[in-house]
């Protein structure tokens, strides 16, 4: 048989079939077409709201760059995980990647630079005055700063940006918690007054405000441009602000780069702002492309398809170091992982709120873990070095309490390691010489599964049997927030660099994690309030040290590890400096 001819016929037939399949989306009247297109087309065609939104999917601004130009020589390509982004409007966005994009497209009034996390330096504000009780902040803006649009940066823009943030009440609005009023004194002076406490009639002190003003979400927006695209800072902005769709695809800032495109879960494009007040950036264009697989990211860097990647999986560090074309930088982050232990006993919970008592998961575990000695024993029973090795290949550090290394007042020498004998003795003191059984709840993923298994085996050595209760993330969060869990894993990433980011959330019994784990300790509460309401660095440092001592003694949370990130970039890239909140300032990078 003439197989060759048979084969060539077959190829032809199949090609035709393939083309038919490929062409099907174009045709609609035949029943053949729906298979491929009807379903996607249907919602768009029939949905009224979709119809009004649809045009924004094709940003008009892209047209000038759309000319079929070939490669762009002076482009920086970053391969990183940008899956988390749901919007790029700083008034709404609250994800990790947003902080990185915003700090490079918008300018904040003040800045905290990599290398010195405890000093606030000028950015759009040349200088600032703070009154003695930290209720009034006056910022004096530099007069030479212009937005990428060419409009000057004025006090009115600051007022607009922050009022818009407050009034649309999106995810980052909490950065302005405690702020009562933002007003323009003159074109280049802004006054911020803190909110008035209804009970006392006095303005509340807000010493951490300068630190939170350095959060990229508080970057200043070009009020004229944002208003042009439907933005508003009015009290009813929550329903009347329409700028988000435009701000998702464009930026309205004065920062070193301008956002020109966002393809969700795929790519973010920035171009240089030649008007930047510090001078033109070294790169004309920055393309941030989504890649989640760590091996692939490194391969792209090695092949030259990417100039930089977000963070290197620690098992690949040796491969990266061995490549002469790759530079590696190990950076301490403030991202923490901790083990939280319930502070209140079931009897007290029942007496206070019987309905809530009924919802407790594992009340027996509550009864055991609410004893201080048990919590101390658990903290001493865990092999932290082993955990850091197992999940981070050793790229991790550990602070003495939940307040991380790098923050004023934290003394790393106070960190306690493992002490099995002491842990056993403490368990005996607590009334469990023969051990006990407790349940550990956590949102399951591969890292947490490893850590949980390690904790289970570590604590078995001190006589504690740990039942692992892995949960879906959403279920876990719901139960933890409802104060139902006796022992839980958590992670914490700061939004701004001030000790209140920890003392508030872990020390104030009615706030966040402290509330969820029922850590209601009078002394800790008072110290956290002192930190919140004092400006004097000496007093704050002292209070932080004392609060840390209480955390160590009462042990409601034991720090498991503070991650070190390994960053990798091409050998000719200069100026990389890691920032624990917003990753990297693209303006400082060059080739």
């Amino acid at each position: 048989m003439k197989l060759n001819r048979v084969f060539s016929y077959l190829v032809l037939v199949v090609l035709l079939a393939g083309m038919l399949a490929a062409c099907a989306p174009a045709a609609t009247p035949t029943p053949a077409a729906p298979a491929a297109t009807q379903a996607p087309a249907q919602p768009a065609a029939t949905a009224a709201p979709a119809a009004t939104v649809a045009p924004t999917a094709v940003p008009a601004t892209e047209a000038p760059t759309a000319a079929p130009a070939a490669t762009n020589g002076n482009t920086l390509v970053i391969a990183m995980n940008i899956d988390d982004v749901v919007t790029l409007d700083p008034a709404y966005a609250g994800e990790t990647t947003n902080l990185f994009i915003h700090i490079n497209t918008y300018d904040t009034l003040v800045d905290i630079r990599p290398g010195d996390l405890n000093t606030i330096v000028p950015r759009l504000a040349e200088k600032w005055d703070v009154n003695s009780d930290f209720t009034e902040f006056t910022f004096h803006l530099r007069k030479d700063a212009k937005f990428a649009s060419g409009n000057p940066v004025t006090a009115a823009d600051v007022v607009f940006s922050w009022n818009r943030l407050l009034n649309v009440a999106g995810a980052p609005a909490f950065n302005l918690d405690g702020v009562g009023k933002v007003e323009a004194v003159d074109d280049y002076t802004v006054k911020v007054s803190t909110s008035v406490d209804k009970a006392t009639g006095k303005a509340q002190p807000l010493p951490q405000f300068l630190a939170s003003a350095s959060n990229p979400s508080l970057g200043i927006q070009d009020s004229k441009l944002v208003k042009q695209h439907g933005g508003t800072d009015a009290a009813d902005a929550k329903t009347t602000d329409k700028a988000k769709e435009w701000m998702d695809q464009n930026s309205a800032g004065s920062g070193p780069f301008i956002l020109t495109k966002w393809a969700p879960k795929a790519e973010i494009d920035l171009v240089a702002n030649k008007n930047y007040f510090k001078g033109a950036p070294k790169f004309d264009k920055v393309v941030i492309t989504h890649v989640s697989d760590p091996t692939t990211k490194l391969q792209m860097l090695q092949k030259g398809d990417a100039d930089m990647i977000d963070s290197l999986s620690t098992d690949l560090v040796d491969t990266a170091k061995a490549d002469p074309n790759v530079q590696v930088s190990v950076d301490q982050s403030l991202d923490e992982n901790y083990l939280a232990m319930a502070y209140a006993c079931p009897d007290a919970i029942k007496a206070k709120d019987p309905a809530k008592f009924a919802t407790l998961q594992s009340p027996d575990s509550f009864a055991i873990i609410c004893k201080k000695e048990v919590r101390q024993a658990i903290a001493l029973g865990i092999d932290y070095e082993g955990i850091t090795k197992a999940v981070l290949n050793g790229y991790g550090a550990r602070a003495p309490s939940i307040i991380p290394i790098g923050i004023l007042g934290v003394d790393p020498t106070k960190t306690q390691g493992r002490d099995v004998a002491k842990a056993k003795a403490l368990l005996a003191t607590a009334g469990y010489p023969n051990g006990a059984t407790i349940d550990l709840y956590y949102a399951s993923n591969s890292t947490r599964d490893t850590v949980a298994a390690k904790i289970k085996s570590d604590l078995a050595e001190i006589g504690l049997t740990v039942n692992l209760k892995p949960l879906e993330q959403s279920v876990y969060l719901t139960q933890m927030r409802a104060q139902q869990l006796p022992m839980a894993f958590g992670g914490w990433t700061p939004d701004y660099l001030d000790v209140t980011m920890w003392s508030d959330y872990f020390g104030l019994g009615d706030r966040s994690i402290a509330f969820r784990m029922r850590f209601d300790n009078k002394a800790a509460h008072d110290l956290a309030v002192t930190i919140r309401t004092t400006s004097d660095p000496a007093i704050r440092k002292d209070a932080t040290e004392k609060l840390q001592a209480i955390f160590i003694e009462e042990m409601p949370f034991t720090m498991l590890y503070q991650v070190q990130y390994v960053h990798a970039f091409s050998k000719d890239l200069k100026g990389f400096a890691f920032h624990p909140v917003w990753f990297v300032d693209l303006f400082s990078l060059s080739k």
């Binding site: 790519e267 989504h290 890649v291 990417a306 879906e472």
Partner: protein, 339 residues
């Protein structure tokens, strides 16, 4: 005429089926003991009682479940799939954003699977037991048994990293100016805008993920083609055809293959719908911004509107493919139309 009547009836029947699916989905997603506010609000705004109250009202979570469902159905009948908790965009807009990438990849995979699967299946039937048959068996076995998260990484390592024959992940080279998304199908947009570098880049980026996603379908197509061809080649009418002195090519392609097509059509139709429903693993490995990743994230976040929207869309694709396959039967096999 009866064909058109039949099709109309089938299309109309889709409406109650779709509503049934939404009811099932609604019940299933609401059984999960979780608070959707955890997704709607950020960690820190959960503190704020006003924010919690406002979000509860805005998203209608304070209403009784049957009422929530009726509101959903009413919106759906007006073409509104609701707004995603997570992205805060209309679900229809999200689907419009993420579906084209999946459609493009599915078409690529489908072409790959058919282009290779059919000839391999036919040849291994004709040359049953010979080398080519064994070879096809191995290729099919690998395709059916290798998980994409492994084979995907493997082909990237070999063909991208080591050999440099294929481009890396993503839909297009980052250093190339991408076409303006009109249809969202990058190949199509590149052609219509005359952007040749982008077209070339987009096509080359399709190769590896299409192979990985299409491999399993290829295995199915090749094996089913082989077995139905073998069955038919042993029948009397084939012997008659051969006895008449027809060239072997005619016997295989005209007589045997046409009859072997019927089981294949069902299979291929469903396989195409399967490809369309998104391939989370392939999309993740190749950084492909498709509907599969969107749907899985929606499920993990318990994003009710997004889960219901994407599932409904996939269900509709399946139903339409089924109808299409039925219609195709009657074209391939006139006996069915007459019957």
């Amino acid at each position: 005429m009866s064909l058109i009547e039949h099709l109309t009836k089938r299309l109309l029947l889709m409406i109650p089926m779709a509503i049934g699916i939404t009811l099932l989905l609604f019940i299933m997603t609401h059984i999960v003991p979780s608070n959707p506010l955890a997704v709607i609000l950020t960690e820190k705004s959960m503190e704020d009682k006003n924010a919690v109250q406002a979000a509860t009202e805005k998203w209608g979570l304070d209403k009784p479940l049957p009422e929530q469902y009726l509101i959903y159905i009413n919106n759906l009948l007006h073409g509104d799939l609701g707004t995603s908790f997570k992205t805060k965009n209309p679900v229809s807009l999200d689907i419009k954003t993420f579906l084209p990438a999946t459609v493009e990849l599915s078409i690529g995979s489908f072409i790959f699977a058919i282009l290779l699967g059919l000839p391999l299946g036919i040849i291994s039937a004709v040359k049953s037991g010979k080398f080519i048959d064994q070879f096809t068996r191995i290729v099919s076995l690998l395709g059916a048994s290798m998980p994409p998260f492994w084979s995907g990484l493997l082909v990237l390592f070999v063909f991208y990293y080591k050999l440099g024959w294929a481009p890396g992940p993503g839909r297009i080279n980052s250093r190339i100016t991408a076409p303006v998304p009109v249809t969202g199908l990058m190949v199509f947009d590149s052609i219509s805008q005359g952007n040749m570098p982008a077209l070339w880049s987009a096509l080359s980026h399709l190769i590896l993920p299409s192979i990985i996603l299409g491999w399993f379908t290829l295995a199915l197509v090749a094996r089913i083609t082989r077995s139905s061809m073998l069955e038919i080649l042993s029948q009397d009418f084939i012997r008659t055809a051969r006895a008449k002195g027809l060239p072997e090519r005619m016997v295989v392609l005209r007589h045997a293959f046409r009859n072997a097509l019927i089981p294949l059509v069902t299979l291929v139709g469903l396989a195409f719908a399967g490809l369309m429903s998104g391939a989370i693993m392939t999309e993740t490995i190749f950084s492909w911004p498709g509907i599969g990743r969107y749907a899985v994230e929606a499920a993990a976040n318990l994003d009710y509107p997004a889960i219901t929207g994407t599932t409904l869309m996939i269900a509709i694709i399946y139903m339409l493919v089924n109808i299409f396959v039925d219609a195709l039967y009657s074209i391939i096999d006139p006996r069915i139309r007459e019957g």
